[in-house]
Amino acid sequence: MFRNQYDTDVTTWSPAGRLFQVEYSMEAVKQGSAAIGLRSKTHVILASVNKANSELSSHQKKIFKVDDHIGVAIAGLTADGRVLSRYMRTECINYSYTYESPLPVGRLVVQLADKAQVCTQRSWKRPYGVGLLVGGLDESGAHLYYNCPSGNYFEYQAFAIGSRSQAAKTYMEKKFESFDGSSREDLLKDALFALRETLQGEKLTSSICTIAVVGVGEPFHVLDKDTVQSLINEFELVGEEAPPAEAADEQNQGGDAQPGDQQPADQGPAPMEM
């Protein structure tokens, strides 16, 4: 009747030492449309793919400003993402009320992770079904974090989440070593290229993506459509509707090779270890 007898409750362990409900919530992150983030010493860029649910609807917002120095990009359940963004905004505002200075990014991320962790240890709760890329600037520099429904969090130079994010990761894995010293413009270029990788040949236009920037002397803001389109034109990302055959193959593999899609859930590495 059930896929297995250990996945009906968040707090029940499987004999192999896994929490299936938590792992399922991490699967929800992979279902959402892609979001990517990358950072240099001075800037963080967040980018997302906007996918409308139907021909008749508009797309949902995937990038949120938290404060002048912090923003998030989400993949997964958008509703959960909004709740967590609101929490982060509240924390930032309370901190600046008390100290008249911006909340350090790493501290907000820990608070957020602790909040997510509680949901994995209470029988009457469910884990959040959303992954957050948190980008921000504080006195120790620019930071990019990934917050997972499991309560884990990691700091990255560059990362991608959501559907077909593997393609963007593959692209960024090849280039991340130069990101630290990158200029804002170079970083934007890499963001757009990485984002295109997740589209599987679909044309990249300003109407299907959102780009946001935060950096030294530049408060967090979402770039407007015209700016994004002119960047796309400038980097000649237009007119490449059919990517080279190899690249497409690679993307297919990347997109399909998601654990849990074909394999039973109690095999393969546990998602929280990745």
């Binding site: 009320y97 008390t98 100290y99 008249e100 200075s101 350090p104 790493g106 501290r107 504080d138 006195e139």
Partner: protein, 248 residues
């Protein structure tokens, strides 16, 4: 206030105090310290305070340290109720401990701590239970000098030189005349001593045992106490009643 039972407490008194109320407020301070003065100088901030502790008008204690270090980048100086200052120091110790426990390369600067104190002071006055102090907060972080003050009801401001109590009346006019942006350490100390000498002569709570403290980008020093040279054998002091004859 919340603990009193409605039956026993007279309604008209319930907000302020009732005989069997469990809460006590500072309606008047007990042991107090007098003025503190702070100024910016070339490399950072200088502060000075004497070490007297007055019990009402009796100078009851003479070794009360009223300037302390807070975190890596700040100094706090206090006048007013000494035990309330000790409570504030406990709050700040907790705050700085928590800040250090993050161990993440971020740290509270003088501006952050000043703002925190403003919130604490104003919050307590809103509970009609103020911390009976006037505070001075100074420090240097990332090459930025900061000097500010907050009083017992939460009024606060920043300036190049600040003083509390009598210092506000007697020292700040001197500072307005003599303060410069590029004051050296020695010049700064000289001005502070001039201010303290004026206070010593005119403020009956002042004591001739004072401490100077300095904070720069990478150094905090609270120097050992010492006394100022004073002259009391002036002609006008010889027969004080001569110029003020009484009716008897």
């Amino acid at each position: 206030m919340m603990m009193e039972s409605p039956a026993s407490a007279p309604v008209e008194n319930s907000l302020l105090a009732s005989p069997d109320s469990a809460i006590q407020r500072t309606k008047t301070p007990y042991v107090t310290g007098t003025s503190v003065i702070g100024l910016k100088y070339k490399d950072g901030i200088l502060m000075v305070a004497d070490m007297g502790g007055s019990y009402g008008s009796t100078i009851r204690y003479k070794s009360v340290q009223r300037i302390e270090k807070v975190g890596k980048h700040s100094l706090i100086g206090a006048s007013g109720e000494i035990s309330d200052f000790q409570e504030i120091l406990r709050y700040l110790d907790d705050l700085v401990l928590n800040d250090n426990m993050w161990d993440d390369g971020n740290s509270l600067g003088p501006k952050d701590i000043h703002n925190y104190l403003v919130r604490v002071m104003y919050n307590r006055r809103n509970k009609f239970n103020p911390l009976w102090n006037n505070l001075i907060l100074g420090g240097v972080k990332n090459g930025q000098k900061y000097l500010g003050t907050v009083n017992m009801i939460g009024v606060h401001y920043e300036d190049n030189h600040v003083a509390t109590g009598f210092g506000n009346h007697l020292a700040r006019p001197i500072l307005r005349d003599e303060w410069r942006e590029d004051l050296s350490f020695e010049e700064g100390v000289k001005i502070l001593e001039k201010c303290m000498r004026v206070l010593l002569y005119r403020d009956r709570s002042a004591v001739n045992k004072l401490q100077i403290a300095k904070i720069t980008e990478d150094d905090v020093q609270i120097y050992p106490p010492y006394a100022l040279k004073t002259v009391w054998n002036l002609a006008a002091f010889q027969n004080p009643s001569a110029s003020a004859p009484g009716s008897w």
